[in-house]
């Protein structure tokens, strides 16, 4: 087997659907029927999962560290809110896409700022953009409603058929469908030659450029795509909760997002999904123990994760599942977290 076909073989085997993945999605769908009283929190988890997947695209695959990803989330949220509030586009799915596109435009425009400079400059620029948007949203309070946020948003039925109900059932399945479709697309993207070239850039931009990958163009493309995903997540937030307020841009949102991704693991798409579940559960746990000071424990989790080392932690977590899998399905099926030193 030649080297080229060998690489192709491994890439294709990576890209194939595993039983575990099918089981994962069936389990998520089953949750929708098993816990009919928990739609609101589950919808929240789905939104967070989508948002985290967006960060994973740029951080886990392209190695761009962003402290201001909430900027795109916020733009999506306000776009969806404004579209619904003024009755410009009443159909939720269409409004969702338009809101995503709005965030995408911003992502494209700011990507030129982000690809310049090293990690530190990127951190500052992304953080600065999010803060800037927050200041803008506060300034133009006649449009955004200022600190009160957008109020009185009424969502029309999805496709004109399915209305949003007060238990959040429609919202949950709607979010799940959106998440799944976007997941499929992201999965296709990261396993394509384009996705592989992103990994090359992340590992060594200089070498990637030397073998003929247009580094800047690829980074702009993935940053724009990630902005679209974040915008959709924001729009889902507005559509399912019927509010949009200034805190969509908050720094804490971007920081929490990083924690979610780090809990789940960077560089494979399920990291965001698993991280979102674990994070929300941790948050629930901490806020039942100490309602006011749960942030302390979240901070402690972050510190411990970093000190122990992310990779070592994931190996520990996967130790027992892998033991079982090895017994049942043999060596090959072992779940491993890909190299994830962003």
């Amino acid at each position: 087997m030649t080297a080229a076909s060998d690489v192709g073989f491994h890439a294709q085997r990576q890209a194939r659907w595993h039983y575990g993945e099918v089981a994962f999605w069936l389990m998520v769908l089953a949750c929708g029927f098993l816990f009919p009283t928990r739609y609101l929190i589950m919808t929240d988890i789905l939104r967070l999962a989508l948002f985290t997947m967006s960060l994973d695209l740029i951080l886990g695959y392209a190695g761009i560290v962003s402290l201001g990803h909430a900027a795109f989330f916020g733009v999506g949220a306000y776009a969806a809110g404004l579209l619904a509030l003024h009755g410009i586009i009443n159909e939720p799915v269409l409004a969702l896409i338009v809101a995503g596109l709005a965030a995408m435009v911003l992502g494209f425009a700011t990507s030129f700022l982000v690809i310049r400079g090293v990690d530190l400059t990127r951190l500052m620029v992304t953080l600065g953009i999010a803060l800037l948007l927050e200041a803008l949203a506060e300034r133009f309070s006649n449009i955004t409603g200022g600190t009160d946020g957008l109020q009185g948003i009424e969502m029309q039925p999805i496709f004109g058929e399915i209305p949003f109900d007060m238990f959040g059932k429609a919202g949950f399945f709607y979010s799940l469908a959106v998440l799944f479709v976007l997941f499929l697309f992201a999965r296709r993207v990261v396993h394509s030659p384009f996705g592989l070239s992103l990994r090359a850039i992340k590992n060594n931009p200089l070498r990637a450029a030397a073998i003929g990958i247009p580094v800047n163009r690829r980074l702009i493309a993935i940053y724009t795509l990630a902005a679209f995903y974040a915008g959709i997540a924001g729009a889902l937030f507005t559509q399912t909760t019927a509010i949009a307020s200034l805190d969509v841009f908050a720094f804490e949102r971007s920081a929490d997002l990083m924690l979610v991704l780090v809990i789940g693991g960077t560089g494979y798409l399920y990291g965001g999904l698993i991280g979102a579940v674990v994070f929300r559960m941790l948050q629930e746990l901490f806020s039942t123990i100490t309602p006011q000071y749960w942030q302390f424990w979240i901070g402690l989790v972050l510190v411990v994760i970093v000190l122990v080392g992310r990779q070592r932690l994931h190996r520990w977590v996967l130790y027992v599942p892998n033991l079982i899998i090895r017994q049942v399905a043999g060596r090959k099926a072992v779940v491993a977290v890909p190299e994830s030193d962003a």
């Binding site: 310049r116 400079g117 990690d119 620029v125 953009i129 800037l132 200041a135 720094f251 990083m258 979240i298």
Partner: protein, 289 residues
């Protein structure tokens, strides 16, 4: 005219304060290349120590200031030796996560111990009010800040440029390997510098309670300001961050006075433009490290 001068004066005081708060970060972030987002937490620690000493124990303000410095420096060196030390060689992402975690913990911890409302330090009567110089209102407290911070800046510059420790630090920063080859104990130099920077932040925190406001969210609220000072000022010398702080202080005070509706908009735009124009900072080295 006098309003402009008064604003300028306030801006300078504000900028000087920012410099004392942020110059420790200039060393860790700019020189040691460690992204320390928890720097504000050390400042807050100093501020709260000063508050407790003055308000609860009745210490005089000027006796509590050095203690704010010492306690922050002690916390700094303890954390440096136990935790930070292991992270110098890690990726920026790890450093960001770790220090955000520390910041969250400090916010919640101070909230738990002291409550979430803003605290004030009882100032001696000599520092309250203002007097006029040719019609320009000069706040006594702000004048004191300018004097203290000005002396500190000159002192720092002298230490860096003239003393043996200063040359060791510069050597360690320029090329850690060569410096350790020459017999300089690089980790020790860094640890000491880190602690000193934290101490300065603590002093700044104590001084800033009156002007910036001191509450448990201090580290998050002013994180961006510290980062701006360092990234805009660059890290090649102490003058860069100093000028950047003055610029930021004057810009912020003037912005709030003349275009209050634009809020912090001006400063963020300025920062982004400067970073795009010169990614290594206004006064940074031209060559990338």
């Amino acid at each position: 005219m006098t309003a402009i001068l008064t604003n300028l004066f306030d801006g300078v005081a504000y900028g000087m304060l920012l410099f004392v708060l942020a110059c420790g970060l200039a060393v860790t972030l700019g020189l040691m290349n460690f992204v320390n987002l928890a720097h504000g937490a050390f400042a807050m620690a100093g501020g709260y120590v000063c508050m407790v000493l003055v308000n609860r124990m009745g210490w005089p303000f000027f006796a509590a200031l050095p203690l704010a410095f010492v306690s922050s420096a002690a916390i700094g060196i303890a954390l440096e030796r136990t935790l930070y030390r292991h992270l110098y060689t890690r990726s920026h992402l790890d450093q960001v996560l770790f220090t955000i975690g520390l910041t969250f913990m400090s916010v919640a911890a101070v909230d738990y111990i002291q409550g979430s409302s803003r605290v004030f330090i009882n100032l001696p009567a000599a520092l309250q009010g203002q007097f006029d110089v040719f019609g320009v209102g000069i706040g006594r407290y702000r004048l004191m800040i300018i004097v203290i911070c000005g002396l500190l800046t000159i002192g720092l510059q002298m230490v860096l440029a003239k003393t043996r420790f200063g040359s060791r630090l510069r050597a360690a920063v320029d090329d850690p390997r060569a410096a350790s080859g020459l017999g300089i104990n690089v980790p020790q130099v860094f640890a000491f510098t880190f602690a000193f920077g934290c101490g300065l932040a603590g002093l700044g925190g104590a001084l800033s309670a009156e002007i910036l406001g001191l509450d448990p969210y201090f580290p998050l609220k002013f994180m961006i300001y510290f980062l701006i000072v360092v990234t805009v000022g660059g890290s090649s010398s102490i003058t860069g961050p100093f000028l950047a702080s003055l610029l930021l202080g004057i810009g912020d005070v003037a912005g709030k006075y003349y275009v209050p509706k634009m809020g912090p908009f001006v400063i963020y735009t300025m920062m982004i433009v400067i970073l795009i124009w010169r990614p290594n900072g206004l006064f940074g080295r031209t060559a990338a490290r």
